[in-house]
Assembly symmetry: C2
Homo-oligomer: 168 residues x 2
DNA sequence: CGATTCGTTCAAAGATAAATGAACGTGGGA
DNA sequence: TCCCACGTTCATTTATCTTTGAACGAATCG
């Protein structure tokens, strides 16, 4: 599927010349597909893909100019990626702008993602199950099913940390 | 449709008047929240939650009437749940209608979900990476990053089956 | 057979989520 | 100090996903 439409280059003050090679475009394409699979915004995939394929840190402006996305998208996407630990800001001497790089270690990516998504869910579940317990008979199907849910939660709590180890 | 009662009320063949207990509602609520967390349609959570909390198999009509959702939603939701192995159709003698029950074994649910979502993605990735290889230099950053992606894919392929075992 | 029940399909409506861009706060440099 | 580069925020627009319900085919019933 064709995607990239070349437009006259935006004025780029000093940061990177905003052109993508065919190879870089392929990487971005890959991560856009991955983002869709994870039901994340396309822009997350674009941003991460660009950084993943970059040898050098990228500035905010560089990202916006290269991907032709809005500043809003870039700002929000980068924030989310940082909370997952998928993107870091690195210091560059004598430049006050932020410089972004992708974290490429699979274990860190997965554990970061899980601890920001699955873990909070698990914790919320515990309280929710207590709430259910208050409205369910102490005998019968509903009671049995509640035990089942509790066992799910227990297993989840045990398995989550192990996933990280599997990827080490 | 005439309102006359033409049938003994022994087996509930009614399409209206289905009522949920407070306990059942709590279970449905739980699974609706879970569906949202998994970014699945709310109706999936409703349907699965209802079946999870049911001691008896439910008919299609029963589900539609109890949850007050459209036939379309019910049909599509049940289909998806069946492809994940989260819902099964059970045979009931002398009744031509489908009867649905929830699969409650965590290991089956997770492996069913993964083999319908993650596994196809992994397989699609393999081809995609070959495609990237054709457009990337045999040296340099892009080449290195492609190797990295290949290693991700390899790890994924090894880890996926293990997840099932962890849940046994 | 024809009538009825069962469940599916799909175009359209409705609901949600993502992207945009103007307005804004912050802080660095002259 | 003032000015401007940097990045964030958020109301609005746009895109995408979900739900609905009428139309439909298949299977069973009378």
């Amino acid at each position: 599927m064709p995607a990239g439409v070349r437009r006259p280059a935006a004025k780029t003050r000093n940061s990177v010349g905003a052109e993508l090679s065919a190879g870089e475009t392929e990487f971005i394409d890959f991560f856009v597909a991955l983002a869709r699979a994870l039901r994340a915004p396309k822009s997350l995939g674009e941003i991460y893909g660009l950084l993943f394929a970059s040898s050098e840190p990228r500035t905010f402006e560089g990202i916006v100019a290269t991907l032709r996305i809005s500043r809003g998208s870039a700002s929000q996407g980068l924030r989310l990626l940082r909370t997952f630990g998928a993107v870091r800001v690195v210091y560059v001497a004598g430049d006050r702008r932020d410089h972004f790089v992708a974290e490429t270690e699979l274990r860190k990516l997965v554990t970061g993602f899980l601890s920001e998504t699955a873990l909070p869910q698990l914790e919320a579940s515990a309280g929710r199950l207590d709430r259910i317990a208050e409205r369910v008979p102490t005998k019968g199907v509903l009671h049995d099913r509640l035990q089942k849910l509790r066992s799910w939660e227990r297993v989840g709590r045990q398995v989550l940390p192990l996933v990280g180890k599997l990827l080490g």
